[in-house]
Symmetry: C2
Subunit: 112 residues, 2 copies
């Protein structure tokens, strides 16, 4: 069945890529694949991102259902972020993409 114009807008791959692309999201995913992280840990481990930008990126990922935010009661209360089940499913795909890029794109680095 031939698809009409609106499919370009809603092409699954395009929408998925738009959720992942950008300067900070790939490296955010990388850190969150390691498990739940406090905001302060993410801010420390991702060089040169401002707190404002980091918060905005996390909110976008949360809105897309890829990240979950948990508030832990205590004094002061603590907030951790972790990948949702949906977000975690992207792990193997992004790893394959990372391997492809390391194999084929000069000068890139595999963040270990």
């Amino acid at each position: 069945m031939r698809h009409t114009y609106h499919d370009v807008e809603f092409c699954a791959t395009r929408v998925a890529l738009s959720l992942l692309a950008g300067k900070w999201k790939p490296i955010l995913f990388f850190h969150l694949f390691a498990g739940p992280r406090r905001f302060s840990e993410l801010w420390r481990d991702i060089p040169r991102v401002s707190k404002k930008v980091l918060l905005e990126q996390l909110r976008q990922l949360e809105a897309a259902g890829l990240v979950e935010r948990t508030v832990h009661n205590g004094f002061p209360p603590e907030v951790t972020y972790q990948l949702s089940a949906k977000g975690a499913e992207l792990g193997p795909i992004l790893r394959r993409l990372d391997e492809w890029a390391v194999k084929h794109i000069e000068g890139v680095v595999q963040i270990s």
Copy 2:
């Protein structure tokens, strides 16, 4: 080994995603996965893309080594585009991403 700042710039996944993201590249890949295509075929099959934008997208993919351009002698001479070996390796990865998106993102369509 902890990576320093410049790695964010050269993070393999980030660079790969930047090559693939955008309005037209995912659907271009979709069509080129089916085999070599003439410019006129691509322009016909991708609704509402202008010739100028299509040409620019193909040039970017060619510059990234993901697409090869072949000029066939004849009258008039014909130009076809096809994925390079490097570009074709992205097929399974983009297919997995497409499946993930169809499963998890409401309203997207799998272009068949």
